[in-house]
Symmetry: none
Subunit: 229 residues, 2 copies
């Protein structure tokens, strides 16, 4: 039983999908456009998003991009569902971060099978819970970071970067991995950009009394560790 957000403007198709989902033991959440979808996502994360490419207002592919860019929604699988069956569209859709791409007209049973396949793969994903290491506390819900009670001010990217480090502490991450996990694998930015953000993050942490939390591993990348070396 999974909650599935269905973003689809055509009522008849919306209905068809919802019925299919219900019949296969899922729980459909309907949204006729990207804005509604975003609002629903604000409240609660679904287990999967079924996304129409063509939508009134913001397009489905744009929505997909936004979902992939946001740390919070990054882990949610997306299945693109659209009339655009050409190769370029498929590649674009998948490159953007969709987990599967189904063309209309589609068979409800195939869709159900694909949903099942994607959900089966779904990993136990990153927690929404606050993380705390060495007196440093990060709360994804409130989007706040505190060092022994005192607030630490971070930009969005620094926040995501720190969140990633804290949920994957002690391990070394290459710049490529960080770009992949924090920026998203579809964007293209210089690897050195990571260095700069590391520096900004370090600056903010040091201002709060946390020295050497983020360490450089020459030739490999960076690591967050509470044990100083």
């Amino acid at each position: 039983m999974a909650r599935i957000l269905v973003v689809e403007d055509e009522p008849s198709i919306q209905e068809l999908i919802s019925v299919t989902l219900t019949r296969t033991g899922h729980d459909p959440l309907r949204a006729p456009d990207a804005e509604t979808a975003l609002r629903l996502l604000q409240a609660e994360l679904p287990d999967l998003v079924l996304l129409d490419w063509m939508l009134p207002g913001q397009s489905g592919i744009d929505l997909a991009r936004r979902l992939r860019a946001d740390e919070r929604t990054r882990g949610v699988p997306i299945i693109m569902l659209t009339a655009r069956g050409d190769e370029q569209s498929k590649v674009t859709g998948l490159e953007t971060g969709a987990d599967d791409y189904v063309t209309k007209p589609f068979s409800p049973r195939e869709l159900a099978a694909r949903i099942k396949a994607v959900l089966r793969r779904q990993k136990p994903q990153a927690t929404e819970d606050p993380v705390e290491i060495d007196g440093l506390r990060l709360d994804p819900a409130t989007h706040r970071v505190t060092a022994r009670g005192q607030a630490v001010v971070l930009g969005p990217t620094e926040f995501r970067l720190l969140h990633f480090f804290m949920t994957h502490a002690e391990r070394v991450h290459s710049r490529a991995q960080l770009l992949d996990s924090v920026w998203g694998d579809h964007v293209f930015v210089e690897e050195r950009t990571v260095d700069v953000h590391i520096r900004r993050l370090r600056g903010a942490l040091e201002a709060s009394g946390h020295d050497a939390l983020i360490q450089t591993v020459r030739g490999s990348g960076y690591r967050l560790s509470c044990q100083k070396e």
Copy 2:
């Protein structure tokens, strides 16, 4: 860079797929039938399996079933690749445990994008295990070396060198072999350079109380051994 097992009996398609994979930075492993595939899987698990439905002998769908039944191979993603485009086949394929289902004729670019999408889901895996010998501990994940709890500081090359020695302990390695395995077979450096790095590595280890761990075998090379001679 992922190892991908391609199970496909038609040579021209096999070739097409392999070329596509190589071009997209993957490493194709070819198998013309299920039996060969099983043999290859015995030796080493690939990161993904591309599976043709119709094969001489045991069919692809049977192979998929076997892979899903075996604990060892259960986690490996499968993409079905076949001419059977009917709904029933798709559903069966996906129900069996395939992660995606692509019908022939397929576009190489779409295939590449789908492979990427499946691998993306799979990512956090295959972490290298720590090695420990005689109180000396090397962990590739954290990129740390400790001697009975105390940190050992090493440069990148020394780290790789020690890692190689620890994973190939008790065996003598010539300078040429070391250059090959630690430096990479394409670079050209003097053999004597190895000596210098051995010295640096020895220095770092001795500072942590590990004497004579790396032994010289005159005329042949070096060896890491916990039993002093």
